[in-house]
């Protein structure tokens, strides 16, 4: 019989066994035993954030940029409720996280104890799964399950709620080698009959289109996808979550699609005859109004790990449930054998049509402007970082410009809250990215409204010397809100003006960082170069941009994909 360990010791040992190097957290009464154990070792390094929302976003940025499970640790009650936004953000984008929360002692549960909330109840709708550990003897197996569930199948956040007495009680420790759960067995291999059907459709296509989403990134399938698309010679588009899944500088890439997608991507989506959807879910921001989408007949092949994503908003002809990597490998094998059968002349005509759409130059903007155009800042950011940076973003116009103008050639470089659209995500996510990629250049593209939602993390950045580059596209407006008000609410800018802004330069300086304010278009590139030269400093760049600029193209809510407002 091995010696007995406390629940807190077991928790930390489990994290070590899982190979966790960083956890992001904030202490409190219910997790004091766990913090005590963290203190006594140095394998698992704890990063002290300034707000629990940021702990979860940081763990999330860590996971997105590394394909490892992100881990956050929060206390009971307000610690958990603060974390909920982060958990919901990760859930919507299927990010593998394990969140460990403290809970009041088991004997106090249900008695409205100090800092008690029903954590399992509050988080139930925004986690892949959650557990309340009632006995220390179940703790190790539960943590093992949590990591397993978070990282397999369609990934997602899993929460483990540990009452204080459970972290104090002792039991023999044995970390299970394997997990087997009769009720959870995610499929990986796609159905071979379905894959054969897909091959037939693909070979017969005259106007094919490949549409890929976050699933390609999550499944680490970018290289496979790229090989497949190149072999076929088909056009490829990525969703907001899928950017980097196919190299943006490649000529077969037609840009992002959807509400702020390119003209060519949306037109090709609408008019293709065979659509291959890979790890994407046809959501409302992507295909607009499904009825309008049905106006054109096309055959749809849909590859996804999650059966419930298939035929949810759009009926598909060939569903293939499986891991994207596995299914793409199978497809590649079969297609290589039959690729001479591709209709090359039809494909050429299709590309001629796509090039006509491309010539519309839907992302053009006034490059001669004497006021800084936000698009130009992103283009310069791309140039100065040679396309190699990790870019996180907040939510709003700046997010869309970053997605449109930074050309992501690699997966896991574009880190944004696509599903939940959480303002405040960018800065803490960038911290997580920097911990996962200590040598990488990490920039956070943000807006003056979003950045203020987690601005306190500038303090965390100082404590851990995170040399992030913050690109604040300061238009003095909640720009995306203002744009909708301009287009759909008669220019009535209700509460979207950002009054009483802080002096961001001084703010950054008071946190111990470098601040820069850039007001002239001619200074943009120089400022970025200077900032990225400061390799060991966080630089907050406050770009004073055109207040009136809008994001184009735009598919208005409820409209069809080909009903874009163009510049």
């Amino acid at each position: 019989m091995s010696t007995e360990l406390t629940g807190a010791e077991i928790t930390v040992r489990c994290l070590q066994k899982e190979g966790v190097d960083y956890i992001f957290g904030y202490p409190g009464g219910a997790v004091l035993y766990i913090y005590d154990e963290l203190f006594k070792q140095d394998k698992v390094k704890h990063v002290l954030v300034r707000h629990e929302q940021a702990a979860v976003h940081a763990a999330d940025g860590y996971a997105r940029s590394s394909n490892k499970v992100g881990v956050a640790l929060v206390t009971s009650g307000p610690g958990v409720t603060n974390a909920v936004t982060g958990i919901a953000t990760a859930y919507m984008d299927s990010i593998p996280l394990v969140i460990i929360s403290g809970q009041v002692p088991t004997h106090a549960i249900g008695l409205d104890a100090f800092q008690e909330v029903d954590t399992v109840g509050i988080t139930r709708p925004c986690v892949k799964h959650n557990f309340l550990v009632k006995d220390v003897s179940e703790l190790a197996a539960t943590i093992k399950k949590a990591f397993y569930i978070a990282s397999t199948g369609r990934p997602g956040p899993v929460l483990v709620d540990i009452p204080k007495d459970v972290s104090q009680h002792k039991t023999a420790f044995a970390y299970p080698e394997k997990v087997s759960m009769r009720s959870y067995n995610p499929v990986t291999r796609g159905h071979s009959g379905q894959i054969k059907k897909a091959v037939q459709l693909i070979l017969g296509a005259k106007r094919p289109m490949i549409y890929t989403g976050g699933g390609v990134i999550l499944s680490d399938a970018a290289t496979r996808l790229t090989n497949l698309v190149r072999m076929l010679g088909f056009p490829c588009t990525n969703t907001l979550m899928g950017l980097g899944g196919y190299p943006a500088t490649d000529k077969q890439f037609v840009g992002m699609l959807g509400m702020h997608g390119t003209y060519e991507a949306n037109m090709a989506m609408q008019h293709c005859d065979v659509l291959v959807a890979v790890g994407a879910r046809f959501d409302d921001r992507v295909i607009g109004n499904p009825k309008h989408f049905y106006n054109e007949a096309r055959k749809i092949i849909h590859i996804d790990i999650d059966p419930s994503s298939i035929s949810k908003r759009v009926k598909v002809d060939v569903p293939i449930v499986g891991s994207i990597s596995d299914v793409l490998d199978e497809l590649m094998k079969l297609l290589q054998a039959g690729k001479d059968k591709l209709d090359q002349s039809a494909l050429e005509a299709w590309w001629t049509q796509i090039d006509l759409w491309r010539a519309r130059d839907c992302l053009k903007y006034d490059r001669a402007s004497t006021i800084i155009k936000p698009q130009m800042v992103i283009e310069k950011l791309y140039k100065v970082t040679k396309g190699n940076a990790f870019i996180t973003s907040d939510v709003g116009q700046h997010q869309m410009w970053a997605a449109q103008f930074y050309k992501f050639d690699l997966p896991r470089r574009w880190i944004n809250s696509g599903g939940l659209g959480t303002m405040g995500f960018g800065l803490p996510a960038a911290m997580g990215v920097q911990f996962a990629n200590p040598k990488g250049a990490v920039a956070c593209v943000t807006g003056e409204a979003s950045i203020q939602m987690c601005i306190q993390e500038l303090s965390t950045c100082k404590q851990y010397n995170l040399p992030l580059k913050i690109v604040n596209l300061n238009n003095r407006y909640m720009g995306m809100v203002r744009q909708w008000q301009e287009f759909f609410h008669g220019n009535r800018y209700a509460e979207s003006y950002m009054d009483a802004l802080p002096n961001f330069v001084k703010l950054a300086e008071s946190y111990g960082h470098v601040g820069m304010k850039i007001e002239q278009p001619g200074d943009v590139e120089g400022a970025l170069k200077e900032a990225f030269k400061l390799k060991d400093r966080l630089v907050f760049m406050d770009f004073i941009t055109d207040q009136t600029e809008n994001v184009f193209p735009m598919v208005p809510g409820g409209k069809g994909l080909s009903e874009m407002i163009l510049v």
Binding site: V120, G121, R124, P125, K128, H129, L132, I149, M181, R182, S183, Y184, D306, P307, S308, S311, K312
Partner: protein, 155 residues
């Protein structure tokens, strides 16, 4: 599904958060105490029922989901109904209970409590057949279902 605390609320939460409706829901442990079996009655188009099935399957504690209405199946519900039974009504109500193969399981000088099993529509019919004003109380379990013949839902 796994016979664990919280499994039921996950199912109920799924229905409310995705806007599906629950007509009835029954759940209890099976002969294997680690498993419980739920019969859930819902209505929706084929597409909606397909989504419901997929979403239920995604719940970690759900072991297996079968749409019983895909094939022939048996459905039973239990109702306990307390009715006012005085004077001439006593005979009449007793006869009615017999016709529906109900059993009177509790008697006072003013009331009968009748136990009745059957499909939901049979129980509805019994309620219809009773004089409204005589009904004091009803309690129904909701349907439990099982496939006919060799059709088995087992892990």
């Amino acid at each position: 599904m796994e016979n664990e605390a919280g499994a039921l609320s996950r199912v109920a939460g799924l229905f409310s958060s995705r806007g599906y409706n629950i007509e009835s829901l029954t759940v209890a442990a099976t002969e294997d105490p680690t498993l419980s079996r739920m019969t859930l009655v819902t209505v929706g188009s084929d597409d909606v029922v397909e989504q419901i099935t997929k979403q239920l399957n995604k719940l970690i504690e759900v072991v297996k989901v079968v749409d019983l209405s895909d094939g022939v199946h048996i459905e039973r519900e239990l109702m306990l109904i307390k009715v006012r039974a005085v004077g001439n009504d006593r005979e009449e109500i007793k006869r009615m209970a017999d016709i529906f193969r109900g059993r009177i399981i509790d008697v006072t000088d003013k009331s009968y409590t009748i136990e009745l099993t059957g499909t939901g529509s049979k129980l509805d019919a019994f309620i219809e057949a009773m004089e409204r004003s005589t009904i004091l109380e009803t309690v129904r379990t909701g349907a439990s279902g099982i496939g006919r013949g060799e059709r088995i839902l087992k892990i």
